[in-house]
Homo-oligomer: 304 residues x 2
């Protein structure tokens, strides 16, 4: 483990709880705060579940300490990093950053978990915008390693990359900000075609999901999309692939769907996913997802 760090977790919903579990499990101290006393009061309970799941995965552990802040200033005490998980409201976040900046030293980094807003909007009005990064986790954050990072100060971003690597995450740096970062753009692009396939009656919701999980999804868990085409090109690699099949790929792109979420399509999606759930509640489905992700995390840990 790297040096022990104190992290302020600001915003104590499920994402905040997931982050806190990761930080604590890596031996860092966490100081949490939420403007809603009820949310803050229930935080220790909400952290317990992801923490127990991380325990199942195993690995070395010296648990850090979790402190619930009496107020924002108390939560920021001694923090090197502030992980902000406030609601997706730009002015609310900007206001929060102003409050944080008024209370912390110059070298404290603020990392926003935002999935919706670009750095250039969030940083407006900051005294030291260079201290802000977006650090977007992928749900559920304690079981999926990806953290997408954008910031303008190389040293700040480098520190953050090292920190998130140190807690077992997989930081990926964006060179240019983009709404949806990388992962949600890819997910959105895939889902558009998945919806098109359902809308066109090519296959139902459950069939599409089964195909993904047993096919490209499985392979993308070990091999990136670009690298897959490199291997698909045989001895010629990506250059060979593009040379032989680049034109077919462009034709395929042109043939992809552009569905609208009409009432008819909505009905197909809702009915389809209801059939796929086969009576399992959201909580049961999440538990199944988590169990599978925990098994994969154990496997990754063994192979390290």
């Amino acid at each position: 483990m790297a040096d022990k760090t104190t992290v302020a977790v600001v915003g104590c919903g499920l994402i905040g709880a997931s982050w806190a579990a990761l930080f604590l499990r890596a031996g860092h101290d966490v100081r949490a705060w939420d403007p809603d006393p009820e949310s803050l009061g229930g935080f220790r309970g909400r952290v317990a579940t992801p923490l127990a799941q991380l325990e199942q995965i195993g690995g070395p552990t010296v648990l850090g300490e979790l402190h619930l802040g009496a107020d924002l200033g108390d939560a920021l005490e001694g923090a090197r990093l502030v992980q902000e998980n406030a609601p997706e409201n730009v002015s609310l976040k900007q206001d929060l950053y102003a409050q944080i900046e008024a209370r912390v030293a110059d070298d404290v980094i603020i990392a926003s978990s935002t999935s919706a807003h670009p750095w250039s909007h969030l940083s407006v009005g900051m005294k030291r915008p260079a201290r802000l990064i977006t650090a977007h986790p992928f749900n559920p954050p304690h079981l999926v390693p990806l953290v997408e990072i954008f910031g303008t100060d190389d040293a700040v971003v480098a520190w953050a990359e090292a920190f998130y690597s140190g807690i077992g995450s997989a930081p990926v740096r964006l060179k240019k900000e983009a709404v949806g970062h990388i992962a949600n753009r890819l997910a959105s692009a895939l889902w558009r075609e998945a919806v098109h396939i359902v809308a066109e009656g090519i296959a139902g919701v459950e069939a599409v999901d089964k195909a993904l999980v047993n096919g490209p999804g499985l392979r993308w868990s070990v091999l990136g999309a670009h690298m897959a085409y490199h291997l698909g090109g045989g001895a010629g690699g990506m250059a060979g692939y593009l040379d032989h099949l680049g034109t077919s790929q462009e034709k395929r792109w042109a043939s992809l769907g552009n569905p609208s979420l009409t009432p008819d399509v909505l009905e197909k999606l809702v009915n389809g996913v209801t059939a796929e759930a086969a009576g399992r509640s959201i909580a049961e489905l999440e538990a199944e997802r988590d169990a599978a992700l925990i098994a994969l995390a154990k496997l990754r840990q063994k192979s390290e």
Copy 2:
């Protein structure tokens, strides 16, 4: 294991070898044929690698027998299923089907591994088109369970689904034929955005692949894209998600990229993947991919 079946594997390249290994490992007999004597002659050797990989995965096994056909008629002797893996040339395949139909009983099923051609093109001119199905595997077929099936005869498709399930594959039936079936359409949609992200300079090839493998790819190996949005909707499920975020999703779709494979983009892709490969040859990268897929297959087998 279900009843022992004799399968004719027609077309003895890598896909044919992969299929043969799966069939043999499940206890079925395989009779192979290829018009190219050299390809047929090397077949036993090419089957050895996937067979050894399946052995690593383990599970019950009564190996079937592999017979190299003296000619097409010999390979078809006693076959209930013909798995066709000929080059992606419609008239060549049609000609092959005519030769097969002239030699087999009425109830023999022909399954084409085609990734490129729809059933309606391939079946033209057949005496019994209902016996033809497309049964598209995902590469590498012996380590990725998906088989996408389309056919017009319910009984034929049902038999094929049961057969592929019996060898440990995950058959998915299409209700309507589509070029690219399901999986390659999803892969193509995702890759279009992956290329866009590189073309726009948002992130490099390696960063995009790292984000996919550690984020959505990992999650799609356990949870389908539709089901992910069902869970993303909280207690309201898919209906709640669409109600709250359907409009944002449509906006996101509109913001996705539509790149062209210009010389500049080609260069970025080739240079990017070369950097990601970091000196590893195609064979080395394939071996790494296979090792990871074998570990995942072992995990799946344990949890069954």
